[in-house]
Amino acid sequence: MVAKAGPCALAAMLLILAASAVFAQDAGAAAPRRVLLLVTQSAGAGWDNDAFSLVSRSLFLGVQSDDGVRAAGTIIVEPPSGSVPASDDARARAARAVGADGWLWIELPQAPGGASLRVHSFDLASGAQDIDEAVPVRNGLSPLELPAADWSKVAHLVVRAFSPTAAGKALAAARTSARLSIHARPGSVVKIAGGTAVTIDADGGTSVTLDAPGEYALRATLPGFSPSTQTLFLTSDREVTFSQAPAVRWALEGSLSDAAWPGVGLSWFAVPDSLSLGIGFSTYLFGLALNEQNVFASQPLTNVHLWYAFYMAPADSFFRAYSGFVVFVRIIHAPVYFGLDPLSPVGAQFVLGAEIDRTLRGGFFLEYVPTVYFTNLPTLFQASLGTDSRIPGWLFGPGFAQNLLTFRMGYRWML
């Protein structure tokens, strides 16, 4: 028994030791730091685009290839676009968006001949703003001097601010809490993503204690007002104020039915952001035919719609679904006749739609609108669709004709 247990125990011990070694190695290893490099020029600075691009590029290459930076395993990341966020919070979000855990912001001097750079940094891991100092530049920054540019001082700052060990120590040392004071309209409910919800008191404010450093997304809602969101990086006590615009009550929309026929509508939100009532029309007077014979088509028919729509998602949802019901009348406006279409004067639509990435000003929408036309002469109505082919999506029955394959898309402006 012992003889048998010995090797097993030894194997188990070796396995545990190996695993421990691995974990120990993991715990002691410093993950490479990723630093977002942002370069700007001061307001009113005299850099032209070419010179600015050259210096930015030179800075990136110079810091990235610096021996000290490479030895520390720090990776310099360029922003995906040329614009530089204006606030610390925004810069933090930009850094996280590219997988970086810190940012380095370099302000160029007023002119290529300037004597120093202004360098700022922020370590998202520790929540510390380590660098805020001027770095002298030898021989200026004119394009002619760039080949001889020396970025070692900047690189040294990067190594100092973003060394792996420093980050770990700083993070452990800096982990604490901070007080966030929130200001919004009284009665607003502010929900902190992944956390609790707080209600704004009658004075328009409240406060909450949160772990810091940390990034938080906050969303304030109040009936009658559009939802408002803010994302911030909390390192110490601070305030945040929500600007909450009254919810829109009117919306104007332009649309295209079946990718061919234009329409216009006006909605009134009886219940803000939830229930809208509308009136509008879509006309066949001019439209896109897009067939082998014609590009445009025209029929002396206009549908006048009345509808209601119930929104199933908040106003700031990326994909804001709604459903509704439409009744419409078909009006013929031909020289020989003006009035309701005798063949099918009335129809109805079920609406299943969504506003997509809508802003406070408006947004694109797409609707699936199966339509039923009421007629006591369905064969006559069927013949009115055309002569040659079976058109997909249509059903015909006693007293009705139904089109199950019809869509509407357009843009809705919030007034």
Partner: protein, 378 residues
């Protein structure tokens, strides 16, 4: 995801690309059609003769069933854009679930050169799949004919054998001792499942007239005979100095209803000089003095069992009193007057509407009580 939204929307919208569910002519026809009774749809029809260039088509239902209206069998009068006119027979095929054309077509000859319809088509009561074609031509009235067309759906034949032709100018068809031509024939409905009469107007070279009645179809065994209200055998004048002296063709109608005695005759005549239709009427006893119904300025297509006159000229229905007063008008866009007929014992006016969808032709057949025709004007 955001980048995909718009393309997805466009694709979905394009998938739904379809012509608008609207046709002005059909919608206008519905103004009247919705007030009619849809007796049924004869269709879809597998294929029709020369379908590609049809400009007009009328379905003539058979009258063989006890109710007097049989939509499962009928004749279709076709007019092509080239002026070609044909008559075909179609019947419901249960196995194929659609109507089929049996056999070939009968040539109805070219379109008339004058405003008169030069063919009167009557499906024959008491006989299956039989049509009687009265061919009247103003250019050669002596060549006017009756042609019978018989179909055999079981064997898929139409016409069966050689169409039987009888010359209306034959002396055997009119009283002996009179020369001249038949210039107008009209059918007046009978509330009898096996009997239909046609009424003929015969004109002599000296502008005298004779009115006759015949079974449908007439035959040598049952030739036309003079009306009791218009005693023959001598032809009579309708008055002196009538503008239609020299007439070679007219639309003739006779109202045989005794309750409206004295029975009236009507002649709808196109005045080339005035370029309009005019209508005369006369009644017994001899000597007749035809008087003009000045209010009837359109072609008359039927003298109805109500005693009224019906015009369907120019896609517009017009109903006149027997004295020529316009009672009402109603749009007929796309609706073609078939005839007045008794359906289940009620006199009804029948209309046919040619439709073409799903790649096949169909006909809607509508009816309305003749007594309700005046309500179509709203």
């Amino acid at each position: 995801m955001k980048k995909l939204i718009i393309p997805i929307a466009v694709v979905l919208a394009c998938l739904s690309c379809a012509p608008p569910p609207f046709n002005l002519d059909l919608s206008l026809s519905a103004r009247t059609a919705r007030a009619l009774k849809l007796e049924g749809t004869a269709g879809p029809i597998d294929k029709l003769y020369s379908i590609s260039d049809i400009v007009d088509a009328v379905f003539l239902p058979e009258k063989g069933t006890p109710g007097g209206l049989d939509l499962t069998n009928g004749f279709v009068a076709l007019a092509s854009s080239k002026g070609d006119r044909r008559l075909v027979f179609v019947h419901w095929d249960q196995a194929k679930g659609m109507y089929l054309q049996a056999g070939d077509s009968m040539d109805l000859g070219p379109a008339p050169m004058d405003p008169y319809p030069n063919r009167l088509l009557v499906t024959v009561k008491g006989a299956q799949h039989l049509v009687c074609v009265f061919a009247l031509d103003s250019s050669a009235p002596s060549a006017n004919q009756i042609v019978l067309g018989q179909a055999e759906p079981a064997s898929g034949q139409f016409p069966v054998g050689t169409p039987a032709a009888q010359s209306l100018g034959s002396l055997a068809m009119i009283p002996t001792g009179i020369t001249g031509d038949v210039i107008g024939v009209a059918r007046y409905p009978q509330n009898d499942p096996a009997l239909d009469y046609t009424y003929w107007l015969f004109k002599t070279p000296s502008n005298h007239f004779l009115e006759l009645r015949a079974y449908t179809p007439p035959s040598y065994a049952n030739p036309p005979s003079g009306l009791l209200t218009r005693p023959g055998p001598s032809a009579y004048s309708l008055g002196t100095g009538m503008p239609f002296d020299g007439l070679r063709r007219g639309l003739y109608y006779y109202d045989p209803e005794p309750s409206r005695a004295p029975e009236r005759s009507y002649l709808s005549w196109y005045d080339q000089a005035r370029a309009q239709w005019r209508c005369w009427t006369w009644s017994g006893p001899v000597p007749f003095a035809a008087t003009e119904l000045t209010g009837v300025a359109n072609r008359v297509d039927a003298a109805l069992t109500t005693g009224e006159l019906l015009s369907t000229e120019g896609e517009m229905g017009r109903l006149y009193t027997r004295d020529g007063v316009l009672r009402t008008t109603f749009p007929l866009t796309g609706l073609r007057f078939i005839e007045e007929s008794y359906v289940n014992g009620e006199a009804r006016v029948l209309f046919s509407q040619y439709l073409y969808f799903n790649g096949r032709p169909s006909f809607n057949v509508y009816s309305i009580l003749t007594t309700d025709l005046d309500k179509l004007g709203g």
